[in-house]
């Protein structure tokens, strides 16, 4: 990797917004392809952050600060990206994510949302306390292929299944992959409500999305063929 790309990746890892923005500008000034800079330096930096997060070297304050450094670099780079890249982005996994109705705990969901966004997914975050009908409506509107539902509360976990019921009722179940996660949930629970995937951790959620949308795309798992990561 070119030195400047390495330094940009390092700046993201070091949570240094100013340095990240400056190095992104230097990369543009040096005539580097902005897409290449995003793909190698930025994603590389965030992958390393994700690894440290998984290893419990980094925690949520560090993860969020690294993401800010990433976004500072992206703000500089994106205006220079060739329009053809918009085409490519259509092929990225498209995820709508939210905490289920009744649940206003969204730190975990926000982390998953962040890790998916910085890991190469197009994400629409519906926030917290999201009704099942809103998940379905937003998934249609966003042309999502994945609906990700989170809950932290045993009180609201039963409502996670209502999103899948709502999809079934509207004849839309086959159009979306549904993944679930959150402290009280388990693979058993995910299987029972008919989800397509379950992940225990935020990094697992990214791997799950990548596995579910891998090319060639695997056949939709049948009932009981839950993917667990």
């Amino acid at each position: 990797m070119q030195e400047i790309l390495q330094r940009l990746s390092d700046a993201i890892l070091a949570m240094d917004e100013d340095a990240a923005a400056q190095l992104a500008q230097e990369a543009i000034d040096a005539g580097l392809d902005p897409t290449e800079v995003i793909d190698s330096a930025c994603l590389d930096g965030m992958e390393r952050v994700g690894t440290l997060f998984e290893q419990e070297e980094y925690f949520i304050p560090e993860l969020l600060s690294s993401a800010d450094a990433l976004y500072a670099a992206l703000d500089v780079l994106r205006p220079h990206v060739h329009p053809s890249v918009a085409e490519r982005q259509r092929a990225l996994p498209r995820v709508v994510i939210g905490s289920i109705e009744g649940d206003t705990h969204d730190i975990g969901k926000n982390v998953v949302s962040l890790i998916l966004s910085t890991g190469g997914c197009e994400v629409r975050d519906l926030g917290r306390d999201v009704p099942s009908t809103e998940f379905v409506r937003a998934a249609q509107d966003f042309a999502a292929n994945i609906i990700a539902i989170s809950t932290l509360m045993t009180t609201t976990m039963e409502r996670v299944g209502t999103v899948i019921e709502a999809l079934r009722k509207q004849g839309l179940r086959a159009d979306y992959l549904v993944i679930v996660g959150g402290r009280p949930l388990s693979p058993t629970f995910a299987r029972r409500i008919g989800a397509d995937g379950y992940a225990e951790t935020a990094a697992g959620a990214l791997r799950l999305v990548r596995a579910l949308t891998a090319d060639p795309r695997p056949k939709r798992p049948g009932v009981g063929d839950l993917i667990v990561l």
């Binding site: 949570m15 419990e56 980094y58 925690f59 949520i60 304050p61 560090e62 969020l64 600060s65 800010d68 009744g102 206003t104 705990h105 969204d106 730190i107 926000n110 306390d129 509360m153 045993t154 009180t155 609201t156 039963e158 009280p184």
Partner: protein
């Protein structure tokens, strides 16, 4: 067989590390409250009204204690009073659903403006809690009244947008310390009101202050500092304090041992036995799985309770917030087995 000491004395003795005939079984209220739907339907005192109305709050706290068998009164039934007083918008929820922060008052820690120092005195829900404590503690001398507080980090993250707040713990330490320190002062004032109303024990739950979220450095810098400031102030009022720490604990175990609380309450997947081995001076509290309580068979609840007793956990309690749809039978099995000396 009648017990030789009252539940109140037993709990206070356990918190003061004195010998007891058996471990108390309690549910402190706040994050961990047992106002389940079955109790409200049977007793007729219901949420969300009982979040506001002192008479209903008193009656519901009484119903919870008598119907579940928990050996205390635990109030309030939510974690939103503190943030309400400090300016955030609250959704009071429904019969089944706990109140929640609708919108944090401030976008960043740097923007926080605090209300007058006596803001808690003027809040209706604070007054309902104080009045409930007064009524219950004067009517039922044998049953301990536990007043629950939302901890400093969680309260701060309930008045400032939580993601910005968490980031600022690193990036804007001055604002973060200013906000959390002042929040702690308000909490101390609130605790003082509860103590003056006759509360026996203060229980602090700080679900944002976990090792998983903060990591060891931030946990030390913020959670330990301000939880201890709060606990020390409660001790100065002559009352014991329980501290509940959510989540996995591996990352912050040494820091947790630095907390000044009189009992440490933990989540279901934390091994209290290991904590007892590593830190024998800690009074352990917990940690019956709330998922087991909601979905398990009564027999499983029975064996899990026996297991906690065999492990000599000092105070038996649910591990976390109870679902409002938890079957009453499972809770009464928990408390009955806990009380059975055989």
């Amino acid at each position: 067989m009648s017990d030789l000491i009252s539940p109140r004395e037993r709990l206070l003795r356990a918190l003061h590390k004195e010998t007891v005939d058996r471990a108390p079984v309690i549910c402190p209220g706040g994050m961990m409250n047992a106002a389940i739907v079955a109790v409200m339907e049977a007793g007729g005192n219901k949420l969300p009204t009982a979040h506001h109305d002192a008479t209903q709050m008193t009656n519901l706290a009484y119903d919870v204690s008598t119907m579940t068998g928990f050996e205390n009164f635990g109030i309030p039934f939510c974690m939103t009073i503190e943030a309400e007083v400090l300016g955030s918008a609250i959704n009071y929820g429904t019969l089944e659903c706990e109140p929640k922060i609708q919108k944090e008052r401030f976008a960043s820690a740097a923007e926080v403006i605090f209300p007058p120092a006596d803001a808690f005195d003027d809040n209706n829900r604070v007054r309902a809690v104080a009045s409930t404590i007064h009524t219950l503690s004067s009517r039922y001398a044998d049953t301990p009244v536990i007043g629950s507080l939302t901890g400093p980090i969680s309260t701060a993250a309930s008045i400032v947008d939580p993601m910005t707040f968490l980031k600022q713990l690193r990036k804007d330490k001055d604002s973060s310390h200013r906000v959390i320190s002042q929040v702690t002062d308000y909490l101390i004032h609130y605790a003082q009101l509860l103590v003056e109303s006759g509360v026996d024990v203060i229980s602090i739950a700080d679900p944002t202050a976990t090792g998983e979220i903060l990591g060891p450095r931030m946990f030390d810098e913020y959670a330990v500092t301000y939880l201890n400031k709060l606990v020390d102030a409660i001790h100065a009022m002559g009352k014991p304090a329980i501290v509940h720490i959510c989540g996995k604990m591996e990352a912050v175990k040494p820091s947790v041992s630095q907390l000044h609380g009189d009992a440490l309450s933990v989540d279901a997947f934390v091994s209290l036995v290991k904590i007892k081995q590593e830190y024998p001076e800690i009074t352990t509290m917990g940690n019956l799985s709330t998922i087991l309580l909601e979905f398990g068979e009564a027999e499983k609840v029975e064996s899990a309770t026996d297991e906690l007793k065999n492990k000599k956990i000092d105070i038996l309690a649910p591990a976390c917030g109870l679902s409002t749809s938890t079957p009453l039978k499972n809770i009464s099995t928990f408390t009955a087995v806990a009380k059975n000396n055989g």
